[in-house]
């Protein structure tokens, strides 16, 4: 890989990082509005408010960057970057098409992705603690509890796929993929997707930012560009979770003409899943904190373990 090619790949990933979350965010604006019988943004940019998020970004940049007097300045200011950057790094390793159509193939891709995504939550924790605000602190605590509860089923579900494919590398998994993996791993897919939603604190798992109780959780004290970073990280998170579910459970680039159109299938599946994320947000009310915890420990983890056992049995039956 030459230096130029590396640079090109990095720029491509950065473009995806900057553009796709905005597309998802705009889709959320419009889809959510129509699901509620509204129109959503109609002014910015002229045609059906397509530039709403650009306008939002401009607004956020103009706002004053406030740090509360009692806050821990450095930690407070560093937190948005810690929350956002891991997702950028994760995007680097998600394969889009066959034949090295990926930012950078990593040998233990699944591990890498899950590990780096776990760091992102540190940002929320830092924000929650450093804001010197009790609502922020509560939000941070809830974030931590939720992360610890949902990381495990997510890992187990991902492990099930890795076991089925016999490799930890994301392109490697896709090369092994057969269509019947979808029904085989469907429970794992459900667990992974739901746990991913919970890690992103998306509704109905948004107890850490429950606005009717704790304002906006860990992000209460943030304004301007730093607040925008947190929001952006949520939407990049949707992209990452959807793309990962696509790659691990829905066969990524597999579809008609995978060599020419593989990238298209990946992107289509990813956006379909992102649409499901939005749909779930519009439809379901927020889970209470105890329901959240019970759901993770008594539903998702047993399901993930059952899926793991099933995968093991089928795998042994196939290979023997």
């Amino acid at each position: 890989m030459t230096f130029l090619e590396m640079l090109l790949r990095c720029v491509a990933v950065l473009m995806v990082f900057l553009v796709f979350p905005l597309v998802i965010g705009q889709t959320e604006h419009k889809v959510m509005a129509h699901m509620q019988g509204r129109l959503g943004p109609m002014y910015a940019g002229g045609f059906h408010g397509w530039a709403q998020l650009v306008a939002d970004g401009v607004k956020f940049v103009q706002k004053e960057d406030i740090v509360p007097a009692d806050a821990d300045r450095r930690v407070f200011q560093l937190a948005p970057a810690v929350a956002l950057l891991p997702y950028l790094v994760v995007l680097l390793v998600i394969p889009v098409g066959p034949g090295g159509f990926v930012g950078q193939a990593v040998d233990a891709g699944i591990f890498f992705v899950l590990a780096v995504m776990g760091i992102g939550v540190l940002g929320s924790l830092m924000a929650g603690w450093a804001s010197a605000n009790k609502f922020s602190l509560l939000g941070g605590l809830r974030t931590a509890a939720q992360l610890m509860a949902y990381e495990l089923p997510m890992l187990l579900a991902a492990a099930s796929v890795a076991m089925a494919a016999g490799t930890l590398s994301l392109p490697g998994i896709l090369e092994q993929f057969e269509w019947w993996w979808v029904p085989w791993q469907i429970v794992g897919a459900f667990v992974f997707f739901v746990a991913g939603l919970a890690e992103l604190q998306r509704p109905p798992f948004d107890m850490p930012v429950a606005d009717s109780e704790i304002i906006f959780g860990a992000y209460t004290e943030y304004t301007g560009i730093r607040f925008a970073f947190f929001l952006l990280s949520e939407y990049v998170g949707i992209l990452v979770i959807s793309a990962l579910t696509t790659v691990l459970f829905l066969g990524g680039w597999h579809g008609p003409l995978p060599d020419q159109l593989g990238w298209l299938w990946t992107i289509l599946k990813t956006f379909a899943l992102a649409l499901v994320v939005i749909w779930l947000r519009v439809t379901f009310p927020r889970l209470r904190e105890d329901q959240l915890m019970r759901f993770a420990w008594t539903t998702l983890i047993p399901l993930a373990l059952a899926q793991l056992a099933l995968t093991g049995i089928v795998k042994v039956a196939i290979t023997s």
């Binding site: 009692d70 806050a71 930690v75 540190l122 924790l125 931590a144 889970l287």
Partner: protein, 210 residues
Amino acid sequence: MSLLAAAGPLEPAARSFLSPTGVEIVFLLVGVAVLGAALVTVTTRQLVHAALWLVVALGGLAVEFLLLTAEFIAWVQVLIYLGSVVVLVLFGLMLTKAPIGRSPDADSGNRWAALAVGLATAGTLVTLVVDAFRTSWIDLGAGAGSAKATGEYLFRHWVLPFEALSVLLLAALVGAIVLSRRDDEGKKPRPRPGKLRAGKPVGTSSGKES
């Protein structure tokens, strides 16, 4: 060049320290950063800052693993230590309302003992490693620390220790559960009818709907 001088006595006869490669220089720099972060972790008076510096130190260690081509171990380090252990530590600190700014009682009378133990451990390890490897040169071929290689080592040559460790962990886990649930039976205060009980777990009947 002081870095090289510091590293020099460890392996004086190493063949390439006179013309270090880029990887080696980065390795040493990261090592110094990890050491610095670790020192700040134990000396800072701000509890949460200590935990965050621990993140830096552990992350630096992961980078060191990467530089040694032990890719799998590096990601496990990030996943377990950064993603879980530090989050747990931060959770604990936040639960006990760690103050912003210095904690006046963030000090321990044992620090000299701790320093002695730390120095002794470091001395032992350094002596051991230096004595064990001396001037031998390990060629870090790519893929030597990949998941495949690690798995093969673990499940071919070290199966028994691995299983023994898992049983040990399982025992600890069961023990923790038993300890935490011991007071649960018999002593439960019976609900008084007609009065709202504080601390009643809400939504016990609606859990299925989630």
